[in-house]
């Protein structure tokens, strides 16, 4: 025997289930009057610094069918690469950009549309710059533990080529699963839960 580490264990995850909207976006599913607006539904104001972009994200199951009952959260740095977080020690982020957003997939099309700004580059642990990216967290019925991944940008080829996380992907053929395609001011991104094009999900 030895001493105890006296640590607790993380509460086990359980699926968000089919009715996640009630808790996280009640106005979206017709429960009005409890909260004035759904949290995370607006990310930018006219005072926010940075290039306006749209993200159009879908989540596809193993048959290629878009999920209509998923919920996506995004978390990103501001235009200068600073996080609006008490943990951010490098400086003050844009006070007009919270950096976090939440969107349910459309019940007909399965599309999540975010209006945000292009994030700046954030340093990796060793000081090298990561490419601009948006952290994604996806929950839905049938997903037992929220899925964590990133969205990178197709017009940032050079930065993507230097990115230390993308560089860790052993099978290079899977790197494009993390890169959103620019179409005008919109970036289009399909998350594949399974199959040949399965998105690289993270354990971090």
């Amino acid at each position: 025997m030895a001493q105890s580490l006296d640590r607790l264990r993380e509460s086990a995850s359980q699926t968000a289930g089919p009715y996640v909207h009630i808790g996280l976006t009640p106005n979206f599913c017709g429960i009005s009057g409890v909260y004035a607006t759904d949290l995370g539904s607006t990310m930018v104001s006219d005072k926010t610094k940075g290039e306006r972009i749209g993200l159009k994200i879908r989540v596809l199951d193993g048959t290629g069918t878009p999920l209509k009952d998923a919920l996506i959260e995004i978390w990103q740095a501001d235009a200068d690469g600073l996080y609006n977080s008490p943990t951010e020690m490098r400086g003050a982020a844009d006070p007009n950009f919270f950096g976090w957003g939440r969107c349910p997939t459309d019940m007909e099309t399965g599309v999540c549309a975010f209006e945000t700004i292009k994030p700046g580059r954030v340093p990796f642990r060793d000081g090298r710059l990561m490419a601009p990216h948006v952290t994604l967290w996806i929950v839905a019925r049938g997903i037992n533990v929220g899925l964590h991944t990133r969205l990178y940008f197709s017009d940032e080829q050079k930065a993507n080529g230097e990115d230390p996380i993308l560089a860790r992907i052993e099978h290079r053929v899977r790197v494009p699963t993390l890169i959103a395609e620019r179409q005008g001011d919109i970036y289009v991104f399909d998350v594949h839960l399974q199959g040949e094009k399965e998105t690289v999900f993270f354990d971090s």
Partner: protein, 251 residues
């Protein structure tokens, strides 16, 4: 949105303990049929947290409305209240080091006392309660403590096996201080025999992990002649000490 952290403590900036994947349910739990086509099959990409995972949004208490943590009244018509067993759910949000986590947003949602959700996809024959919406939220205090008032949700049948029933449960969404701590889970009620039959619960291999999601009746926290109480603590990933960090790797 105000980004006060709700705490006077100096923020910690260390990385998080790795997630114990065998303690959580795996992605694929065939007894829960919806997981079959929605579970990633390839290995996850593992890496130590970067700033993107270490940092996270902070929600200020100012965003909360007066009835946000009172599901008995937050959807009810004036002077009326939701039907069902009145309960208080309270506890603390801790991290794996046992330290209370202040200033974290908790959101919860549930079926009504009959087991029916206020959602157009729920067609269970139990009736809606016109005075019950089913959602609430709060932010933890300085010691990580939280509480809310609601009615005990009913169990309900669901399309999975031919005769599967969910145990009574409340869904919880929890933010930590870092986005890597983000967690959604469910709270069950002590003594409910449906817990051990549920395919979603049984995705968790370790009995102790299931027990840790089961709230305990807390008769000391009841409000006499008003509401029973259940205690439910939530544990988020712990942070490593940053004493030896902030140096380039290899130095």
């Amino acid at each position: 949105m105000p980004s006060e952290s709700g705490s006077n403590r100096k923020p910690e900036t260390g990385t998080f303990f790795q997630r114990e994947r065998t303690w959580h349910p795996p992605a694929l739990t065939p007894g829960y049929k919806s997981s079959v086509l929605r579970s990633p099959q390839k290995a996850l990409l593992s890496f130590d947290n970067t700033l993107s995972e270490i940092a996270g949004p902070a929600f200020g208490h100012a965003m909360l409305g007066e009835l946000d943590n009172d599901l008995i009244h937050n959807f009810a018509r004036p002077g009326e209240s939701a039907i069902g067993e009145r309960i208080i759910v309270h506890g603390r949000v801790l991290d794996e080091r046992g330290i209370g986590v202040p200033g974290v947003l908790i959101e919860f949602w549930q079926a009504n006392a009959g087991g029916r959700y206020r959602h157009k996809k729920d067609g269970y024959l139990a009736p809606l309660d016109p005075n019950f919406g089913g959602c609430g939220r709060t932010i933890t205090g300085e010691d990580g403590g939280y509480a809310f008032r609601t009615v005990k949700p009913g169990p309900y049948p669901w399309p999975n096996g031919p005769n599967d029933w969910r145990p009574a449960h409340i869904h919880f969404s929890v933010f930590g201080h870092g986005f890597a701590q983000r967690l959604i889970t469910q709270m069950y009620f002590q003594g409910d025999p449906l817990i051990w039959k549920c395919p979603i619960v049984r995705g968790i291999a370790d009995k102790a992990a299931i027990e840790a999601l089961t709230a305990i009746l807390d008769t000391q926290a009841t409000i006499p002649m008003d509401a029973l109480a259940y205690k439910f603590d939530i544990v988020l990933r712990g942070r490593r000490s940053s004493l030896f960090e902030n140096r380039p790797e290899g130095n």
